[in-house]
Amino acid sequence: MQRFPCPFCGPRDEREFHFAGEAGKIRPTPSAAQSDTDWATYLYEAQNPRGPSREIWVHTPCQEYFIMTRDTVSMEVLGTEQLRKETL
């Protein structure tokens, strides 16, 4: 059981978190103008790095989406960032 840091709740057990995708992947707009290839790249291609990986996660109990950088081999958590721009 890993322990991940929710930026709002603090450290919580892995089971409370969901992997929501790699970070930095922006939905291309306007979507209608995208080529088949660009759209497929957005939908399907993944960095899937071996080692440090920047990912979007959600802490399901408090529904906070955030960015977490982890090492996909050692499972070490290297840092978190808030997804939203400003803090309330």
Partner: protein, 172 residues
Amino acid sequence: MRNDNAKWAAPLEQNRADVVGKNARLSLQPLSRQTMLSGPAAQCLALADQPSASGWPDIARGESYAIRLRRDRILAVNGPALTDGWHERSGVAVSDMTGGYAACTLSGPRALDILKTGTALELALPSGSAMQRFHRQEVIIYRWQAEDTFRIHTQRGQLESLWGLLAALVVK
């Protein structure tokens, strides 16, 4: 086609008796109003007329209080009556949840140990929100009035399974 009336026992009465075990007691906790407020934290508190909101392991006090559910959401318990919908001036969204959550109270010296069978919560590990998972079930857990009195809210449809789990642990 199956009839599962026997497999899933009928829900207990709303005025069900407390479950009492060694050093622990479980009771249903009626609440006259629960209100969900989402928006900037300070604005939510102002609208709910609350000085602060409790996370974990804060102790909520009094009959009317607020619980932090998310960065931008509180649950006002027995707070003022508010209109559902968007409150333009505060920038807060409001929904009545009086019936949406059911609550029970678990108290006694063994209460925390009972909770720790199903969650990794620790008094020494504070959390911004009171949202937890107990045996995989989404719940709100906070302390109320006393060190060893815990109020646990869950979506109403999950009360029976929460109650069943807790009751079995209390009488153990």
